[in-house]
């Protein structure tokens, strides 16, 4: 089987998501859905005094690709300055996943990024 999509690390992040949970009083938060498949991600960012990501958590459900993507993204965000977080784009997400996502599943892979962008856009 041509199964490069479901590599060990993807399955691991899906089964044991990093930074799962919620943050009360987050500095930035947003929820995004994939209407076609029902995947959902809610992302919470807490910034410190120098606009660095002090803590990040997510709450979500969905396919292995969307959930692994957000789990990996949260690992990447921790401790980063806001400016760097704002510059994260599709290429970075694909780099984190390290797999050939393919056009049919791109929406799943990018739900994490979409949620991050919404969270950054909505100041709380």
């Amino acid at each position: 089987m041509n199964d490069e999509l479901y590599q060990e690390n993807i399955l691991d992040h899906n089964k044991n998501p990093r930074n799962a949970g919620r943050i009360e009083g987050a500095s930035r938060q947003a929820k995004e859905l994939n209407p076609s498949c029902g995947d959902a991600i809610e992302l919470f960012l807490k910034l410190d005094g120098c606009d660095r990501v002090q803590d990040v958590k997510f709450d979500g459900h969905g396919c292995a690709i969307s959930q692994a993507s957000v789990s990996m993204l949260t690992e990447r965000l921790k401790g980063r300055p806001l400016a760097e977080v704002m510059a994260i784009d599709e290429k970075d997400i694909l780099g984190l996943l390290g797999i050939d996502v393919g056009p049919m599943r791109m929406k799943c892979a990018m739900l994490s990024l979409r949620t991050l962008k919404s969270a950054l856009a909505c100041k709380k």
Partner: protein, 404 residues
């Protein structure tokens, strides 16, 4: 007599396109056989012109072919006349027309009864009409066995009910609903019964007089026809009394600067240049199905569904979401513990097995069942047991990849 599917496989050129092993998504859209493609081609090659207008020969021929399809569809449904057949762009358009037109006659206090298993196409148009006209929506709940709770239906359908609109067969569960009984419940309180037959007309003999419904909607693309065309069947008197919702050419009798009058039904509902090739293709698809026989197609469907459900049920962690036996079509929804429907559908695709994963345009149903979605395999006349075997084989491989 043609053997199913062996003798018809040659008619479906796209079946083996792109290296597919098993096409199991006919509930979403069926494949189209060569005779249907040729009928549509014939229009473009032989009599390409508008209908109901030109005074020249090809326009007459195009109109004749277009209107002949109306007769074919009327016969297929056992309608009392071709004038009961309105061509639309599909089930969604047919149901929107009904909700918009019939909705205008409803007022606050009136009730429209739907079911918990409706496709979004039979929910959202009613929600929008309800917003505008102030009527209330009620939903017939399900039993544990994924059928309609008919006791609840009897309690819900009452003096305030003006319309009952139900799926004949559920695209998400495979359940076939007791439409005839719902028709008598609706008629007993003076309400009308609308049937969303998108999933039944392709798979079984549907006779509008036996069902005793008032309106029936379906799509050509799920029954070997082209995309973008469908039918609204309605009782003649009801269509005559109903207001159109789209205006323009062809649907009028007389247009004066200040006001206009309407053409007769069904043409008053067909504003503008219709999907001529599509309608001709639908007529050819009906002819193709009739030549095989709907009873045989239904029997083939049932046998395959029973075979597949038997095999699927043996897979650990797999749950069938829908009736395991009884009144059902060959659209089989299931969940596999630990596997999201999209991951499963992707992995099955890699084995050449095409299925659908997701909420199947039935989000209220999925919420009611506490599921984010299911994986659905659906069969049609060109499938056989080897396709079901390919499905089982691919699910087992997917479970290995996902370490389940």
């Amino acid at each position: 007599m043609k053997k199913l599917p062996a003798d018809i496989l040659k008619d479906f050129p796209s079946l083996h396109a792109m290296g597919m092993r098993a096409y199991l998504d006919s509930a979403a859209s069926s494949l189209t056989p060569t005779p249907v493609l040729e009928a549509m081609d014939g229009y473009y090659k032989e009599c390409r012109s508008n209908v109901h207008r030109g005074m020249y020969k090809t326009a007459g021929e195009a109109t004749a072919r277009y209107e002949a399809a109306r007769g074919v569809v009327a016969g297929f449904l056992n309608a009392s006349s071709p004038e009961e057949v309105v061509f639309t762009s599909g089930t969604t358009a047919s149901l929107n027309l009904l909700a918009a037109s019939l909705g205008r006659e409803l007022k606050p206090g009136d009730e429209v009864v739907l079911t918990e298993m409706e496709h979004h196409a039979d929910v959202v148009p009613w929600q929008e009409a309800a917003k505008r006209h102030g009527f209330t929506l009620k939903f017939i709940p399900l039993t544990e066995g994924f059928t309609l709770d008919m006791d609840a239906a009897r309690a819900l359908i009452g003096p305030k009910t003006r319309i009952v609109s139900v799926a004949h067969a559920s695209n998400a569960l495979g359940t076939v609903n007791p439409v005839k009984e719902l028709a008598s419940l609706a008629h007993a309180v003076g309400a009308k019964l609308i049937v969303d037959a998108a999933q039944s007309v392709p798979h079984m003999k549907v006779d509008v007089r036996t069902l005793d419904c008032d309106f029936l909607a379906f799509s050509a693309h799920k029954m070997l026809g082209p995309t973008g065309v469908g039918v609204l069947w309605g009782r003649k008197g009801l269509l005559e009394a109903m207001e159109p919702t789209q205006y323009g050419g062809d649907m009028i009798r007389e247009v004066r600067p200040e006001a206009s009058t309407w053409n007769d039904a069904p043409w008053k509902f067909e504003a503008g240049t219709p999907n001529v090739a599509g309608v001709i293709g639908l007529g050819a698809a009906v002819g193709y199905l009739q030549a095989i026989g709907m009873e045989r197609i239904e029997a083939h469907d049932r046998a395959l569904a029973a075979y597949a459900i038997g095999k699927l049920s043996e897979i650990p962690g797999l749950e069938i979401v829908g009736p395991k036996a009884g009144e059902r079509i060959g659209a089989i929804s299931f969940t596999v513990e630990g596997a999201h429907p999209h991951d499963l559908a992707t992995l099955l695709d890699r084995e050449g097995v095409a299925v659908r994963g997701g909420h199947h345009c039935a989000m209220p149903l999925m919420a009611r069942l506490g599921l984010s979605g299911t994986t659905r395999a659906s069969f049609y006349l060109y499938n056989d047991e080897s396709d079901a075997d390919a499905l089982i084989d691919a699910i087992l491989k997917a479970k290995t990849v996902l370490k389940l």
